[in-house]
Symmetry: C2
Subunit: 309 residues, 2 copies
Amino acid sequence: MNTLANDRQVAVREVGLRDGIQSLAPLATEQKLEWFRREAAAGVRAFEITSFVPARVIPQFYDAEQVVAGARAKAQSVLSALVLNDKGARRAIDAGVQSITFVVSASATHSGKNARTTPEEALSAVEALIASLAAMSERPQISGAISTAFGCTYEGKVDPGRVLAMAERLAKAGVDEIGLADTVGFAGPRQVHNLFSNLRKAVGNLPITAHFHDTRGMGMANVLAALEAGVRRFDASLGGVGGCPFAPGATGNIATEDLCFLLEEYGLQSGIDLERLLEARRSLTELLPDEPLHGALSRAGIPRPVALQ
Amino acid sequence: MNTLANDRQVAVREVGLRDGIQSLAPLATEQKLEWFRREAAAGVRAFEITSFVPARVIPQFYDAEQVVAGARAKAQSVLSALVLNDKGARRAIDAGVQSITFVVSASATHSGKNARTTPEEALSAVEALIASLAAMSERPQISGAISTAFGCTYEGKVDPGRVLAMAERLAKAGVDEIGLADTVGFAGPRQVHNLFSNLRKAVGNLPITAHFHDTRGMGMANVLAALEAGVRRFDASLGGVGGCPFAPGATGNIATEDLCFLLEEYGLQSGIDLERLLEARRSLTELLPDEPLHGALSRAGIPRPVALQ
C-alpha cells in the first residue's frame, strides 16, 4: 500500500442532490437546500448540486438555477453541476456554479439514451465549450466525466483503450479534471486499479475523480483500489441514494458515510466530521421517507466499546 | 497490486452453517445438510459445518455429530468444526472432521463471555491438544483462529502486538493454519493490510485465513486489503447470514457470493461456479424465510448486457 506520506488530503463530493435524486419524485427547492445545509455543516466541501438538463427529460431538476443560488447563499462550498451539452453548460455558468461536470459516455448506446448524442459529438462539445470560454477572466472549472467507463448495461464490456483515448482528448481540450464513472456498477477492484493506473499515466498530473455505484457490493473495494492507484477525489451519495434512470439495474452511489469511514481509516483527511455526517444522514429519512437508504456505518455506528452488560 | 502470476488459487470456506446460524432458532439436521449439499454442488470445497460446544450454550449445534456424518456422506468437501476447548476438540475428532478451528480470543473479556476461559488458558489448550495428537497417524488439521483480532465490542481497540504474539505461539505449537477474525466488524482496510502483512512475516509460510464481518460495509475492501497482503483463504457466509451472540452489534459475515465475485474479478480461481452459487443462495430464502439475507450480487446479478428496450 501507499505510505501516503505526502498525500494525506482527499476530496469527497456529495452527488446525492444530483445522481441520488434524479429518479425520485421532485423535491421542493427548500428540501434540497436543507439537505445541502446539513451536509455542509458536517464539513462536506464539494457538492454536485444539480443538473442542467431539460425538465421534460428529468423533472427533478426543474429548479436548477434556484438551487444553485440558494446553496451559494447558505454555505461556502464548491458547487458543481452536471451538464450534457453546451446549452446546459451555459445555464450552469449563468447560474454561477464554480464547476461544471460535462458528461461524455464511453458507450455509444448509453450516450444516445442518456444525452441524445454520440461520444464524438459530446467530446467536440467539450472542446468547443472550453475554447469559447478562453476569454472569460474567471471561468468555472470544467470536469470531463466519462460515464459507463467500466461497462455498460446495454453494450456490456467497454474497451479501456477507448476510455483512455477519450480521457486524453479531454485533457488536450483543457479540462481541469477527469472523472471515470462506473455508472451501472459493473466494476471490480482489479479493473478499477488497472484503468485508473493507466489513466494516471495518460493524463499526468490532472486531478482524477472516481465515481462508483455499489450495485454489486464492490463499492468500497473499488474505492480502495482507486486509492491504491493514486486517486484522491471521490463522488458519493449520502445514504447511498441513487441510480441512473437510463441505466437499467443501476442502484445507488456508494454511501458518503461509508466512504468517509474508509478514508479516515486509511489515514486520509477529508475535513468531514463523521458523527455530524451520520446526523445529516439520519435527517434524510425525514426528507425521503419512502426511499430505501443504503450503507452500513449508519446501522452499526462508529466502532467503539459498549458498556458491559 | 500483486501480479498473481504464481498464485492464482484461492480457498473459500463457507461458515454459514456455523457462524451464520448460531443465533437463529435451531434448524433440522436435514435442512442443514440440504444447504451444504446445494453449496457443495456449486463447487464450494470447504465448510465450517458445525460447532462442538454444549447445546445449552448454543442450542443450534444440538446435532453436531449427525451433521458431520451426514455431510461426509453427501459430498467430498473439507469439513471443519469450531471448538473452544479440548472437550469440543475430542468430540470433533470422534465425529470425523478433517479440520478443527480452535478459537482463542485476543480480548480477555470476549474470551470470558464466548468461551468462559482466558486467552492464556485457550492457548495452553491448543498446545496440549496438538501435543496429545502427536501419536495419531492421521490427525485432523488444526487451525488456530484468533477472534476479536481487529477490535472488541467490549474492550475497543486490541493491541496488534498481542495478536501477533498469540499467532507466533500458535505457530510454535504446531497449528496447520492461522486465522484472524474481525468478529465484531471493527476492521478497516489499512488495519487489515498492516496486521496480515505483519502476520505473514511472523509465521512464515503457514497458511493464513481471513474472517470478516460486513458490519460497517468494509467487508469487501478488507478482503481486497488482505489479498494485497498475500492472504489466499477466506471465510464467508452465503447470503451474509451471521452474527456472534456474544458480540453485541456484530452482524453477518461477508456474503460468500460477493466474495467469490470479487475473487474472480481479481483473477483468482476458487473452483466455485458463481451462477450455481447464486442458485444455492436463492434456496436459502426457503430455508430461512424469516432471516434477512445480505449481499449485493444476488440483487443485481452477474454483470451482463440487457436487451435493448
